[in-house]
């Protein structure tokens, strides 16, 4: 459950009370979910197969495709330039499919600049490329605080940046979706793309972590 802001004066009563968590009646909204879905199936709007396939599609989309794009760009400066000019075209070039209508902007971390992605208005995220966002990305504290006190929030993720690094926040408010292009870790000069991709976690692509080169 999300926290209210400190000092928040109002106690907003919930319209829908949650049932007990002791395993007895299904919560009201889960009853509604089942009912809504069954009605849609009965009236032929959707089929159970479509639901199952859609779940499988999303489950299959981890962050690995994004990590591969980064690894390619680390090893191919011309590809990197094309990727930064047009993120979607870069993904298409790599043969990544099933991207739907994704408009992707890739923002580059450098020695002097660190980028972080947020959607203050809801939770926009490059889902066709990276799958579902983590719960914290959608949480109210993240949406509220990242634009205002990014360094404090990054510290909660264990990431502290020097004062001379510029922090750029990207608030995903309209049709663009964002991916951070992190810096290549030190000591990986001889690494192949697969090893490089393995250093890039999903959190690196949002901007709350840095790629780690684990010991060989």
């Amino acid at each position: 459950m999300s926290e209210h802001a400190h000092g928040h004066p109002h106690d907003h009563a919930r319209t829908f009370q949650r049932d007990h968590d002791d395993g007895s009646p299904l919560p009201y909204l889960q009853v509604m979910e089942i009912a809504m879905r069954e009605l849609l199936i009965e009236t032929g709007v959707i089929t159970p197969d479509e639901v199952r396939r859609q779940i499988e599609r999303m489950d299959a989309r981890g962050h690995s495709r994004g990590a591969r794009v980064v690894a390619r760009a680390w090893t191919d400066p011309e590809f990197k330039a094309r990727l930064l000019a047009n993120g979607r075209a870069g993904c298409d070039e790599m043969g990544i499919t099933d991207l739907e209508a994704l408009h992707l902007v890739v923002v580059e971390n450098t020695e002097k600049v660190h980028n972080v992605i947020v959607c203050t208005l809801c939770s926009c995220y490059p889902k066709p490329l990276l799958g579902l966002p983590p719960a914290w990305y959608k949480s109210l504290p993240y949406r509220k605080r990242m634009v205002r006190e990014p360094r404090a929030v990054l510290k909660e993720f264990g990431l502290e940046l020097p004062e001379d690094v510029i922090v750029r926040i990207h608030d995903s408010t309209a049709d663009m979706r964002y991916m951070v292009f992190p810096r290549r870790p030190e000591g990986t000069e001889r690494w192949g793309e697969e090893e490089l991709a393995a250093t890039v976690s999903r959190d690196c692509l949002i901007g709350v972590a840095l790629p780690r080169a684990s010991q060989p």
Partner: protein, 106 residues
């Protein structure tokens, strides 16, 4: 006047940075939303509008996908894909079925 969902810059407590896997019912909600979008029955911005219109207590107190369930149901009611009577009867049927299952497994 700032609308409740438009929360960039509002103070709040620490971010819970732990990872949670989505539960199956949440994945189903996500799937249904995507399918409705693919079939041109639910635009992204219609879905967002319904979420934004939730009372602040519900917006804050419900989980992410619980907000989606309400948004989608309200939208489908407005569009006439089903009626409130349809939905209410089906929800009662689901509850009765679940109650019978719980009895059976006691």
């Amino acid at each position: 006047m700032r609308r409740h969902h438009d929360m960039g810059g509002i103070p709040d407590g620490p971010v819970d940075t732990s990872a949670h896997d989505a539960e199956l019912w949440e994945k189903r909600v996500d799937a249904v939303r995507n399918l409705l979008g693919q079939k041109n029955l639910l635009r992204t911005d219609e879905h967002r509008r319904h979420i934004e219109n939730l009372p602040p207590g519900d917006y804050d107190g419900l989980s992410y996908y619980e907000r989606w369930i309400l948004s989608i149901s309200n939208h489908l009611l407005e569009k006439g894909v089903f009626t409130a009577d349809d939905l209410g009867r089906k929800m009662a049927e689901v509850e009765a079925r679940e109650a019978k299952d719980r009895e059976h497994y006691k």
